[in-house]
Symmetry: C2
Subunit: 152 residues, 2 copies
């Protein structure tokens, strides 16, 4: 069974175990195709935890179609990505593209301009843990074809 | 392929992508069998991120053998568990045991005494996101057989 299928299973439940206190929730039944303007290509998102003053970090699952990529952006509080599927690209401003694979852990420091996305011929998925109390993600310019194809 | 195998794949890489700045690391090649005295049964741990003053949360993967369980404990900063495999138990003090499954997200509030573990006939695995700056986990009494078998 491929990991895409595993992710499918992970995302196949929507029953709320304990709705009274809302501290328990199943992953959403269907991934939600992002309509945000901060990326190119198809990216499906599933919010697993909303960051707040009690528990700082938002936790989300993202699944990319081949070639999909986020625009350049900055996380004021940094971000950790746990790659759960496929092959992708990660690049910090002024550095070469890093090719990342399932099983990699990416720790992106606060304030560092970067982008990430799927490889041209691979799906790509991760769980993102993002502190929220230091500010929202700042979105910058789209990644150009020249930048995306600059992998060595 | 079962998720145990998927986890095996996830844990099969140990190559460091960018060792110069130590911000990148692969998941460890082998899960580490816990020798801590805060649980019964076999629990394998893999540290994915160490919490610090820049990025508050520790992130770890835990894989339980059938019937393995942590002692009662408290997280001063709370914890979110993303169940990635199997069936387990989660109980907060004074409340009934909740049966949890792959795909569930558990948000344990700060200061709440609780325990979690595998079901008696199932493996169990999760990714734990635990804020660290409000203090270390406080370990309490072992879960008794009566408590473990009190599931309804």
């Amino acid at each position: 069974m491929s990991t895409i299928h595993e992710l499918g299973l992970l995302l196949s439940c929507d029953k709320v175990i304990c709705s009274k206190d809302k501290r328990w929730s199943r992953l959403s039944q269907k991934v939600k195709l992002s309509t945000a303007k901060n990326h190119t290509g198809n990216i499906w998102l599933s919010e697993l935890n909303v960051g707040d003053s009690t528990f700082d970090s938002s936790i989300a699952q993202a699944v990319y179609g081949a070639g999909a990529k986020l625009d350049w952006h900055v996380h004021p509080g940094g971000q950790v990505l746990l790659i759960t599927e496929g092959t992708g690209y990660y690049q910090e401003k002024g550095k070469p593209i890093q090719i990342v694979h399932k099983g990699d852990v990416i720790k992106c420091p606060p304030g560092v301009e970067h982008w990430h996305g799927a490889g041209p011929n691979s799906s790509f998925a991760y769980i993102a843990v993002t502190p929220t109390q230091k500010g929202k993600t700042v979105w910058l310019k789209p990644v150009t074809d020249e930048e995306y194809n600059g992998v060595k």
